[in-house]
């Protein structure tokens, strides 16, 4: 018994929890290092490594937020829309319609020369957004279905999903990098400690074990969490897209057509999978349900998304 509004609210709450978890992971990796340093007799008075880890995470998030959209569009070799082609003119019309429904400015529109149906949004917010669809999407979908897909993508823009996902991906990357560095540092520190034994004793060993566990687990957890955020945002974009057009069935039927085209989308790199309407890797992972397949995919199972949209349509009637 969930309506569109409830679902949006629940997804927003979940997303906050995910972000909090990320910051916690960064702190964990940093504190572990601080603990080992402290036990090793090096105490600068401030949690040096923790602050460093947070600053590093914040900086890499900032970097990818500014100027990330150009790189994304270029990597997909997207070209600006050509309004003299009737089909592309229709796309422009549909984007304008949905932008009016959402009360946001019309984003820039790009076409990706790829036969597989897919679409993605990029840009840091509604004022500076771009939307790209593949040629295959334009060929396979009718007007209403196109409107459904665009409403999903514009909801990503409107809900600040693009910004959020960029930050989450950058934080996950930062955690991976820091853990990697820590592992290398650990080898070095271990060698040094064996040469002049003594130092921390039991407490030091305990900290070291905790730290090792955290730097091994943190990147895995970060990856799983960032994928979970991505899946939450997909459900949210489906729900708020349907709210914009008041036509969940059109998006459901578009998703069916997209799912039926099982080929991967080679033009779209895996790095921006979380921005797409459906996983560009193609059918295999997106179709499967089950805890494990779910844990490692950017998108929820397409069958479940379709079922949820159908349920919304049913409740509206």
């Amino acid at each position: 018994m969930t309506n569109l509004f409830d679902q949006q609210k629940r997804n927003l709450t979940n997303t906050r929890l995910f972000i909090a978890g990320f910051v916690l992971l960064l702190v964990l990796v940093g504190l572990g290092a601080d603990g080992v340093l402290y036990a090793g007799g090096f105490s600068p008075g401030i949690p040096f490594a923790t602050l460093g880890a947070l600053a590093f995470g914040g900086m890499s998030a900032w970097w990818s937020l500014h100027g990330g959209d150009r790189a994304v569009l270029e990597s997909a070799s997207a070209v600006p829309l050509d309004p003299s082609d009737p089909r592309q003119r229709q796309l422009e019309n549909v984007v304008e319609e949905v932008a009016i429904a959402g009360g946001i400015p019309k984003p820039a529109i790009y076409i990706v020369p790829d036969a597989d149906p897919n679409a993605f949004a990029t840009g840091s917010g509604p004022e500076k957004a771009s939307i790209a669809v593949t040629r295959g999407l334009l060929e396979k979908l009718n007007r209403d279905e196109l409107q459904g897909v665009i409403s999903h993508e514009l909801s990503h823009v409107r809900n600040y999903d693009v910004r959020l996902m960029t930050v989450v991906a950058a934080l996950a990357g930062a955690i991976l990098l820091l853990s990697d560095w820590s592992r290398r540092g650990l080898g070095w520190g271990g060698r040094r400690r064996s040469s002049n034994d003594g130092g921390g004793g039991g407490l030091g060993i305990l900290f070291a074990i905790l730290w090792v566990v955290s730097i091994v687990l943190a990147p895995i957890i970060a990856q799983i969490v960032s994928l979970a955020v991505s899946r939450q945002r997909e459900y949210l974009a489906d729900a708020s897209g349907a709210e914009l057009t008041r036509n969940p069935l059109a998006l459901a039927s578009a998703l069916e057509k997209i799912a039926a085209a099982v080929e991967p989308t080679p033009s779209i790199k895996q790095g921006i999978a979380h921005l797409c309407i459906e996983d560009p890797r193609g059918g295999s992972l997106g179709q499967k349900d089950g805890v494990f397949a779910n844990l490692f995919s950017t998108h929820p199972p397409i069958a479940r998304r379709i079922a949820l949209l159908r349920e919304m349509a049913y409740q509206k009637a």
Binding site: P86, R89, N93, E97, I100, A101, G103, R246
Partner: protein, 197 residues
């Protein structure tokens, strides 16, 4: 003396907080009112677009649809009275009438395969149906924000501010029930449809 001083201080503090609260709520109402105005402007832009497109479409289909002169005439009439409409309720009324004559025209056009193959007509039809969607979405947006504005004026204690500064509730852009329910009729017997008028 000290007690009176304390009371005075308390009164001043209350007055200051009251003033800050009043300013905050007043600004909230003003911002909502501006958003409503903006939403209405959006509808207006799209209605204008519609009014500009219709004569072109009628001119483009006139040759082919010479047996539907009556319908075409009604579209033009409805368009002209919609252009002349003033105010939210009047505009909504006239535009609804126009929507009905238009959907009749669209339905009748289905009977002319040559029209559907005509590039110019196809382009105009696409532009016009996009405009219809935009009007619908702009109306949806306007009604949402107008409802929020009207509700904000009625809720206690904000209604005190609204009354003091003479805020007026705005009209919603409503579709009359009959207009909404009316399904464009695709009458196979076009003749009888015309004589009915």
């Amino acid at each position: 003396m000290a007690a009176i001083g304390g009371c005075l201080t308390l009164l001043v503090v209350i007055a200051v907080f009251g003033a800050i609260w009043a300013i905050w709520r007043y600004n909230n109402l003003i911002s909502l009112r501006n958003q409503v105005g903006n939403g209405w402007k959006q509808i207006d832009v799209q209605l204008k677009r519609r009014h500009d497109l219709i004569p072109n479409l009628v001119a483009a289909v006139k040759g082919e649809m010479q047996f539907e002169q009556d319908t075409l005439e009604k579209v033009i009439q409805a368009r002209n009275s919609a252009v002349a409409a003033r105010g939210v309720a009047d505009t909504a009324d006239k535009e609804n009438a126009l929507t009905q004559t238009l959907s009749r025209l669209f339905a009748l056009a289905e009977n002319y395969p040559t029209l559907k193959a005509n590039e110019q007509v196809k382009t105009l039809m696409e532009e016009l149906s996009s405009t219809e969607n935009r009007i619908g979405f702009a109306r949806q947006f306007y009604n949402d924000i107008a409802t929020r504005f009207n509700t904000a004026q009625q809720l206690f204690p904000d209604n005190l501010i609204a009354q003091t500064f003479h805020f007026q509730p705005v009209e919603l852009y409503e579709i009359k029930d009959e207009a909404e329910r009316a399904v464009p009729k695709v009458d196979l017997n076009v003749r009888s449809d015309q004589t009915k008028s």
